[in-house]
């Protein structure tokens, strides 16, 4: 889908990067291979995702959805954020403290699944809605807030 707003395009690009990285994580682990550098990179990326991307969506975008009568979608996405955060924090901690831990593989696979499913929903519902809800001025403000 083509996005006209800067903020939608920016989030879409980050989604693509997330999917590409976690696609590699998933296929590596399913093939039974070990790649500590890849998991480290995934943990670093996830940390940014949780601290910046999720925070921004929750503070800036979901309230706008609610104000426009679309609270349901925002609340569903927020519930998924909570689940991803819980698994993500454990994953980041394990990669840092015990990269050989047996529970790292199932945790990474769970995260890959949750991230894929979550991004699908945001691409299908959140970003198209932003195209409707955000005018040019708000687009500039949101993009500046996100990139600052």
């Amino acid at each position: 889908m083509e996005f006209n707003r800067h903020i939608s395009r920016r989030l879409h690009e980050e989604h693509d990067a997330t999917l590409t990285l976690w696609g590699r994580v998933e296929s590596t682990l399913v093939a039974g291979k070990s790649d500590p550098a890849l998991l480290k990179s995934a943990a670093a990326s996830l940390s940014h995702e949780l601290d910046v991307h999720f925070e921004f969506e929750e503070k800036e975008l979901f309230p706008r959805l609610a104000a426009a009568g679309e609270a349901d979608i925002g609340e569903l996405l927020a519930e998924e954020h909570a689940a991803i955060r819980a698994a993500g924090r454990s994953f980041i901690e394990l990669v840092r403290s015990d990269p050989d831990a047996a529970q790292l593989r199932p945790l990474a696979l769970e995260l890959a699944e949750r991230l894929f499913s979550h991004v699908q929903k945001e691409e299908m519902s959140l970003l198209p809605m932003l195209e409707d809800l955000v005018d040019e001025e708000a687009d500039g403000e949101l993009t500046a807030a996100y990139t600052s």
Binding site: M1, D16, L19, T20, G23, E26, S27, L29, V30, G69, E70, D72, I73, E75, L76, A78, E79, E80, A82, A83, A86, A87, P106, L107, L109, E110, A112, E113, R114, F116, S117, V119, Q120, K121, E123, M124, S125, P128, M129, E131, D132
Partner: protein
Amino acid sequence: MMFPPGARSRLLPMSLPFRFFGAAVVFQLAAWGVLFAFPSELISFEGGLGPVFAALHLVTLGVLAMTAVGATLQLLPVATRQPVRSLGAAKLVWWLLVPGVAVFAGGAAAYAPGTMGIGAMLTVLALAIYAVLLAANLRGARGMKGVVAHGWAALACLALLAATGLALAARFEHGFALDHAAFRAAHLVLATYGFMGLLAIGLSNFLLPMLAVAPTPPAPIAYAVLITAIAGIAAALLGYALAAALLGLAAAVVHTVALERALRARLRPALGTGFPLVRVSWICLVASLAMALAMALEIAPPRALLLFGLLLVPGWLLTFLLGVLQRIVPFLASVHGSTASRGTPLISALTPGPLLAAHQVLHVAAVAALLIAALLGEPWLVRAGAAAGLAGAVVFAAFFSFVLVKVRQHGIQPPHQPATA
């Protein structure tokens, strides 16, 4: 938080789409069961009333239309950014459609046109209410213009389909004089390539890339496919069989190639469950149009019309729909099962891999056996195919029940294998 029913404006209460899917599960069992009980009737089937006619409509109305209604009620609001206008009307569609299909099929199987007529009226009423809901949604649609255009074309076909269906039912009941062969052919084309086909093609362009985490096919290609398909349907309605087959074949090939190219660019390596059935369905779609072409050129094998119908209904439409259901039932159940206190269920925990693999094998075996039976004219092969289809339908019912139980329990464990959506 757990949302009360209807609180999520564009996410319908789970019971709404799932009641349609559940009815489709039951009607699929009935369709295969009828075919299993009357295998020799299929070989000699020429379109008249009886068990095969009943089985055909159990599939087209009971499974295909039923699922299309349930799926579009949930998926179109997401694509068009418009809520369903009336949940009560959507529920009424189910309450009319389910008995309508049951009475219609029962009347047809019992050679009772009067009973069939009652079922036809209920069914047409249900589809008319659905058409109003669909039109209201499409009229206010924002975004996904390609999906919306396919929706309007499908809606037009649905209106003509209902009109030809009522005319045919009136002929059976009251002996109205009409060109039976022409009306029957128009009814078949409008139901399969028209209403169901255009909906399937339109939603495929949005849904399959979403499920596979892939880009959508380019919009100009999607529009070209739509225009070509509409031209093919119009040609078929006007009796130009050769032109219809060629146009349909071109649309089908371009559609499948465009989607295959989109899927190749996916970001997630594993395609997962459901897609093998979708690919089999595409082969059957193209094969059905190749068979139509052979019939138009008068180079088709014996029982070509039967082969064409088998490729079209169980081969393309039913197989496609079952493949998509394998994916969207766990996906939608996961969405509906999400709560702040217990989190979102993992789709992999709602996807019983071995069960779905068994369903795929049984369904494909059933379609293959029916095609071979039609080629050879062997009723015992029809029974074998129907037995495989019935077993597949039982396994599919088990899968559907599994998802309902799991989402109710919501006792989700981390997966040990990658999920499918």
